[in-house]
Subunit: 146 residues, 2 copies
DNA sequence: CTATGTGCAAATCTTTTGCAGGCTA
DNA sequence: TAGCCTGCAAAAGATTTGCACATAG
């Protein structure tokens, strides 16, 4: 249910986190820097729920309130640093990769991961109905344990 | 936000609704028959939210409680009569078409509709990771007014 | 008649918000 | 210093559940 593999919260990770915030002109408060470090401190893409990130912060020793985690994830999305992915009607997932790419959703563990790059392609896409344009195409490959 | 075009609740629609329930061996109570008539009474596919169906029932004169609408939609899904579609983290949508097909999601009106049949095709799909199989591939084309 | 469904209200769960105090630029 | 940020608790929505009553087969 939660992504347990977060970046370690060391100085290197903190620097990377702060650089990430600076790139989007997001003010680096203590809480935001910690969360950023957990998210991008090791250069990996992450798919998190608010609850998962909250628990990760807590167990890494950084006390951040759940409300702040929500507000911060929202702020990161508004700043273009993350994307919200809709795969489950009851929970929001946030992705540190902001490009439009396909996902695997593991129905057993409720985990969200990237589908292998370049392995999904459309051969046909409809023209958008008149007066509209395609904002994004979400592809979620739902996996079930066999 | 809600689908306002529901089938009229006349005798023909009721018969169709009851037949639909019978096909899946779902007990045709008064409320279920009414909701089924609204959903499939005219043979069209429908994409509804619980709230939307609840309001449609109410304005067609059939008093059904919101809790029952939720329970009923859940029951229809369990019986294989409908599918839940995840497009919005805050609301659940239900589709009377149970085949795996792509959708348009109109971001302005929050409406969900079918994308034109046959207009979406994959040229490549990844092999499912070992030990897993693909349960479904959700494709949601998000549209924005231009 | 018996199992199942219904309605209401209350509970639950996720996410947002108001406000007083804290911290960054 | 001024304005944005944080934390807490409370609010807000969507959905589910407990329980007494109703009803289909």
């Amino acid at each position: 249910m939660m992504d347990t593999s977060f970046a370690a919260l060391d100085d290197t990770a903190l620097q990377k986190g702060k650089a990430w915030l600076a790139r989007a002109k997001v003010r680096p408060t203590k809480q935001r820097s910690s969360l950023a470090a957990l998210l991008v401190g090791d250069g990996e893409n992450r798919h998190v729920t608010a609850e998962g990130l909250f628990l990760a912060a807590k167990s890494s020793g950084e006390a951040v309130s759940l409300a702040t985690v929500y507000n911060t994830l929202r702020a990161f999305c508004d700043a273009g640093l993350m994307n919200e992915i809709t795969v489950d009607a009851t929970r929001s997932y946030f992705d540190t990769c902001t490009e439009d790419h396909p996902h695997y959703f593991w129905e057993d563990s409720q985990e969200l991961t990237d589908a292998p790059a370049g392995e999904v392609a459309f051969s046909r896409l409809p023209d958008p109905p008149q007066g509209s344009e395609i904002a994004r195409v979400d592809v979620v490959i739902r996996l079930r344990r066999k």
